[in-house]
Symmetry: C2
Subunit: 209 residues, 2 copies
């Protein structure tokens, strides 16, 4: 199909598609003349993926670029599928992090807590700093937030992670794709489900709409 | 304290604090001369809250403004605490929505699904459109995503919502504050916990780091 057909199939204006092509987010089509190219279903799928990541996942185009590179990249086995996928979402500086040459991990309340809980995670992971910040903010701002409540949230997160990890395919490239997209898209799904479940639980308990 | 003291206590530059004061995000101090004012602990708490909402919750200042207005506002009982708090996070257009005068709700797959599940939620709620979009995107992009998997995610969301709702204080103003902050800050907490739980579950299952 021509770029106008790609526009029809994906619902995005031709100008936006040309921008994605210039930025390398979408691979070039097969050139049929100096000014024309043909696109196929792989282009449709790629554009839909970019739409999902931006519109559902709320990612900016720079992050989409990193995510797509991690899906396409050849180096997925080196760092482990989950680590490389999660780092692609966090930022370029973490993609280069190599556990083999890293220093002693920093100490923090979140690191103590995951160790006590028995979670086998990389203590260098910057997600632990995000957990420290979120924990501090919850404790400072919310009535009755304590480590017990954090533990119940962590139980629910573990349940969610079991479903996440269950469906990861064995092939490393397919696995990275699944983990990256699952992380972004299921975050959006969980946010919506949590809002709805809150309404339902509040109505069931207090009987007010 | 002077504005320099407020800066020390909150870790934000004086220029940023002056911007928040001009924008009305922080209430004015008590004027001691035409060019000077005194601030107290309520100002420290407000600035820390803005930091938590922007830095931990990832909100932009326009959304922070809406969230703070919903915490401070007098109209919290009219729409119900959860609804008004959730709408403050979604956008100004939804704050004005009044269930009493609304038309028939639209139909969609997410609306059918919550009805079958027995969740008592407002079928006009735009969160259901967000759920439709996230569901479509997960189905199109993820291996093995189906309604069964959505159901297990929903079970986890219900568990989380029970903890959320348990600690909501009875006073409506305190309740809105708790729900709004809990929604934003616990979303950030859950994202971090899910990433860590994924690593732990993956390591436990496959034995690779």
């Amino acid at each position: 199909m021509r770029i106008s057909g790609l526009s029809e199939r994906t619902g995005l204006p031709v100008a936006t598609l040309k921008y994605y092509l210039r930025e390398g987010l979408v691979p070039p089509g097969r050139a049929t003349s100096p000014n024309q190219a043909r696109y196929d279903d792989t282009h449709v799928e790629r554009v839909r993926l970019i739409r999902a990541l931006t519109e559902v996942g709320g990612l900016d185009l720079a992050t989409v670029d990193r995510v797509l590179s991690s899906i396409d990249g050849p180096d997925v086995e080196r760092l482990g599928v989950l680590g490389s996928a999660q780092r692609a979402l966090l930022g370029a500086e973490f993609v280069e992090y190599d556990p083999a040459t890293a220093d002693e991990p920093p100490t923090s309340r979140a690191r103590d807590w995951v160790t006590r809980r028995g979670w086998q995670v990389d203590l260098h992971d910057p997600v632990l700093d995000a957990l420290d910040r979120a924990w501090d903010a919850c404790e400072a701002s919310l009535v009755g937030f304590d480590e017990g409540k954090l533990g119940v949230y962590a139980d629910a997160a573990e349940r969610i992670a079991q479903i996440d990890v269950e469906s990861v395919p064995p092939d490393p490239h397919a696995a990275v794709r699944q983990v990256v997209l699952g992380t972004v898209l299921v975050d959006a799904l969980l946010v919506a489900l949590r809002r709805l479940a809150q309404q339902h639980v509040a109505v069931s308990r207090h009987g007010d709409g």
